[in-house]
């Protein structure tokens, strides 16, 4: 074995991120919104946390004709305005900007890519980045094809070092478009070098679901249809569509949240133990679950799903307008802002256990959680009266806002005689570990720099999810079931409650 492939002995005991290889991150669309609001501030915050290796550089690439200094000026403004940490540390900002460069690139012009290539090569020798590249497409999906093709033509995806490409969700708008997109990217990049970024997966608690299930002996034996009654997945937002009206009105909650976030949470909850916590083992198991979800036939969609849209109401003490009054929403729009689904995973482990998913905007609060409800004990030892207040056991995995896990179990009420009630044991992620949890987006950027794609979505995952969503989407466009309305600030339309009532259950209140 050569020394190069052995682990770095000096890295032992240090966080992986502290020893990432230096690289150049090329941001296509560097002057756009995504870059200004999220990407540049995130990279600045990484620099502030001393997580960027010596030599790391950012190369902005966009249509605007800017000098390095003009780009730095813009970047400084963007960071000052949008950084999550304030005030801005001028020393860090100054150091970061000295590592930022700009090259005008018209995506249609091969010569511009050649010029970009030359700049990158020059930087390689001065910054010791060894040809390592991260191409970040902070541009609308229709441009991906051109960018990818141009990179190939300019021979920018081969040679020494690694060449990774990052694309943001949405990964297509249905199965067909997702497949096309995957095909385009995979023509040039190996799937292992494609990083489909979905910031939800960067959240610590999402990964903690796996740790909770597979690093403990006491939960996995009960994690099946013998003892679990049902699973509820809630992804609630108090926000409306904000400035994303034009996009949202075309997408709707099913595509915007359910297709990716909610199904990912379902997959992590239901997956079999992977043989290792490595990128492909974890993603293989997730894909198996997605494929095991029983597809809803078109006639089933009407009674196994609910679609809703918010009307005006009150959220967090403020009066808000209805969806159709929001900015850039088509008149009389039928787009859903709330979706509820009942799904089944057809596997030995999950036979007969319903998975209820609900996601929506303008719900009473922001809360994402997974609720595992267990069956009642087979025999009521203490009698019906004593156990009247006793709820079945439940485990709640909270993803946001307050990451944590709680376990509900029965206990005797202290008094003469026997009376039981449920109590809750609570684990709060932030307070149990004596450090701040990393910001999801920054964490994913770092994962990409060190080359760990575990928390990024693989092509087959995207396609499996769309396979499931497409028939639902088709029936919904056909107005089956009918769109129901709910007042902003409530937990969705009446149909959502009825969906569970029909099964003798009710939604858990997050």
């Amino acid at each position: 074995m050569s020394t190069a492939t052995q682990p770095n002995p000096l890295a032992e005991g240090l966080h992986d991120y502290r020893v990432a290889d230096p690289s150049i991150m090329v941001i296509f669309g560097a002057t756009g919104d995504l870059s200004s609001k999220k990407l540049l501030p995130a990279v600045y915050n990484l620099a502030k946390q001393r997580l960027l290796p010596a030599g790391f550089a950012v190369m902005g690439a966009a249509i605007d004709d800017l000098s390095d200094d003009a780009f730095r000026k813009r970047a400084a403004d963007a960071i000052s305005q949008h950084s999550r940490t304030q005030p801005i540390d001028q020393t860090v900002l100054h150091a970061f900007l000295s590592e930022a460069f700009y090259q005008k690139v018209d995506f249609g012009k091969p010569d511009d890519f050649k010029a970009l290539h030359r700049r990158l090569d020059e930087l390689d020798s001065s910054r010791h980045t060894a040809g390592n590249r991260i191409y970040y497409c902070a541009t609308p999906p229709p441009t991906y094809e051109t960018i990818v093709e141009q990179l190939k033509t300019a021979a920018m995806t081969t040679g020494p070092g690694f060449h990774r490409i990052v694309v943001e969700k949405p990964f297509g708008s249905d199965l067909k478009s997702a497949r096309e997109l995957n095909k385009i990217v995979q023509r040039v990049f190996h799937e292992d070098s494609v990083y489909r970024i979905d910031h939800y997966l960067g959240k610590e608690t999402v990964q903690n679901i796996l740790a909770f299930r597979f690093a403990n002996t006491i939960f996995e034996p009960v994690w099946n249809s013998n003892l679990i009654d049902s699973v509820q997945i809630t992804a609630a937002e108090e926000l409306g569509v904000e400035m994303r009206g034009a996009y949202y009105d075309k997408a709707g909650t099913l595509r915007d949240i359910v297709q990716n976030h909610a199904l990912q949470l379902l997959a992590l909850t239901a997956m079999e133990p992977p043989v290792a916590f490595d990128a492909n083992a974890v993603r293989d198991e997730k894909v198996k679950v997605l494929r095991a979800i029983r597809p809803l036939a078109e006639d089933e969609v009407a009674h196994a799903t609910v679609r809703g849209q918010y009307t005006k109401g009150w959220v967090l003490g403020e009066r808000v307008v209805g969806y159709r009054e929001e900015h850039a929403i088509a008149q009389g729009s039928l787009t859903e802002t709330f979706a509820a689904l009942r799904l089944f995973v057809d596997s030995w482990r999950w036979a007969g256990v319903p998975f209820y998913i609900r996601a929506g905007k303008r719900l009473p609060k922001r809360a994402t959680e997974i609720r595992i409800a267990f069956k009642r004990p087979p025999h009521l030892t203490f009698g019906r009266a004593a156990a009247a207040d006793l709820e079945p056991n439940a485990i709640t995995l909270r993803i946001q806002p307050e990451e944590g896990i709680s376990l509900r179990f029965g206990a005797k009420v202290p008094s003469a005689g026997i009376k039981l009630r449920s109590v809750t044991m609570d684990f709060d992620y932030a307070s149990s570990f004596l450090v701040e949890t990393p910001e999801a987006y920054e964490r994913l950027l770092l994962d990409c720099m060190i080359g760990d794609p575990t928390l990024f979505t693989r092509a087959d995952e995207v396609e499996a999810a769309w396979t499931l969503i497409d028939p639902i989407e088709a029936a919904w466009r056909d107005d089956r079931p009918q769109l129901q309305f709910y007042e902003a600030g409530t937990w969705g339309p009446p149909g959502a409650a009825k969906l569970l009532q029909a099964d003798g259950r009710e939604w858990h209140r997050p």
Binding site: L14, R18, A20, D21, K48, R50, P53, S431, L434
Partner: protein, 454 residues
């Protein structure tokens, strides 16, 4: 800052630990009811750890209270601060108990603080005092401020009840000797006992930048070409070399180098020869460099140079030389000059400065007594004053400059800010993984080997 709630705090003088325990239970119960949830049912109690801080005097006691309540404010825990004064002849225990809600979203969780002031023989039975108060089933960390009494029965007993011992080797009274004794604990103690050092944690940025330099696969071969290492530290005398020795020990133990010989010279210079890969000599040299912004004992520069496969390289990490800063804690340094590189002189000077602080504290109490008519030692403070507002010292902020030269290429400069950190944040990082750090343990042992051989 936790607001005192009437009836929830307790203070007792000349008490037993049984009194403290029953007061703690009473105060906890009061808190559970005062913070009852929506349904009027007491909220379940949360506790992630017990942090026992052992302090030799009131100055350190205040530091311990500040740091442990700052941690408890974010992480519901039990903080026990012991002011251990076994040499005071009239034995007695004074204690106070406070339970305050900490700022947890939606969930009021308790920050519990028990302060024990132990005078007389009871102090040498520390484990027996603390054990009954511990929360069952959660880890116990013992933070020893000042210098632990290495080799004493008191310390050995204490280590039996805790999961980890945390010290700050940069604040030891006799830094050289105490550091060697700390290394002995690492060598001898039970493998399940964690060992943490705030000084080691402060060296993290140096380790990160060094490791990062060798991280790319194509640079890994440079490791086997390292020929020279230079470390600059501030202050003279062997006690000030501990930080530099830790860095050297880390490199040597990580890369499997064996110490061949070492020698010390005038001006704080140290030269050591290690043997790498069974034959290749590596030279490590320390020198004492006086800089206005670097405290005695702190590392100010690290330089690693060598040649591998015909390619020469240099990695230099240094504190930004432009910056000037006031040396923290040097309040009395000008009154007590250390007198060159004489170890005894340095230690004497440090002890005098520490004594000065204690005397100042006592004077404060006496002044209070004069002003209020309260009996000495009683008036201030009847229960410890908890100030948990951010007390970050602006002057601990540093800028690190890393310079990389490989072959003939131009030097790459990389600037980082090491943000100001208070004791509580550094302590939190040490405790993050339960103060179990085998890299620290081996670096500590290797550093001690080097220091002993000079």
């Amino acid at each position: 800052m936790p607001q005192a709630q009437p009836g929830l705090d307790w203070h007792g003088e000349d008490v037993t630990i049984a009194d403290v325990l029953s007061a703690l239970n009473r105060v906890r119960l009061g808190f559970a009811h005062a913070e009852a949830g929506d349904e009027g049912l007491p909220h379940p109690r949360n506790c992630v750890m017990t942090l026992v801080s052992v302090t030799p005097n009131s100055v350190e006691e205040t530091r311990a209270i500040l740091a442990s309540t700052a941690i408890a404010r974010q992480h519901p825990s039990l903080a026990i601060v012991v002011r251990d004064e076994p040499r005071v002849r009239a034995g007695r225990i004074d204690a106070s108990v406070m339970v305050h809600p900490v700022d947890q979203q939606n969930h009021p969780a308790p920050c519990e603080l028990v302060v024990l002031r132990v005078q007389g023989a009871a102090g040498s039975h520390l484990a027996g005092l603390v054990d009954p108060l511990l929360v069952s089933g959660v880890p116990v960390y013992m933070w020893w401020l000042g210098t632990p009494p290495f080799g004493s029965a008191e310390l050995n007993d204490s280590l039996r009840i805790c999961d980890a011992l945390v010290v700050d080797s940069s604040r030891f009274n006799r830094p050289y000797n105490a550091f060697l004794e700390l290394a002995e604990i690492a060598q001898k103690s039970h493998p399940h006992l964690g060992l943490g050092d705030l000084q080691w944690e402060r060296l993290a940025p140096w380790r990160e930048n060094t490791a990062q330099f060798f991280s790319p696969a194509e640079r890994r071969h440079l490791l086997s070409g390292v020929g020279e290492i230079g470390i600059d530290y501030a202050g003279e005398g062997r006690g000030n070399r501990v930080g530099a020795a830790l860095l050297a020990g880390w490199l040597a133990s990580s890369l499997g180098w064996k110490l061949q010989r070492a020698a010390g010279g005038g001006g704080g210079v140290v030269a050591a020869i290690y043997q790498a890969d069974g034959w290749r000599p590596v030279q490590i040299a320390f020198r004492s460099v006086t800089k206005g912004h670097v405290m005695p004992g702190e590392v100010s520069a690290l330089r690693i140079a060598g040649t591998s496969a015909g390619q020469s390289f240099t990695l230099t990490i240094q504190r930004d030389p432009e910056r000037a800063r006031r040396a923290p804690g040097a309040m009395f340094a000008d009154l007590h000059q250390s007198g060159g590189e004489d170890d005894a002189g340095i230690e004497l000077a440090q002890r005098r400065a520490a004594q000065h602080l204690i005397v100042q504290e006592q004077n404060r109490e006496a002044l209070h007594h004069t002003a209020t008519g309260e009996a000495p030692g009683e008036g201030i403070p009847s229960r410890p004053k908890v100030i948990v507002s951010e007390r970050r010292r602006a002057d601990t902020s540093d800028v690190l400059l890393t310079m990389i030269t490989i072959g003939d290429s131009e030097t790459l400069r990389h600037v980082q800010r090491v943000p100001p950190e208070d004791e509580a944040s550094i302590l939190q990082r040490v405790l993050f993984m339960g103060a179990r750090d085998k890299v620290f343990n081996r670096s500590l042992i290797a550093a001690a080997e080097l220091l002993r051989s000079i």
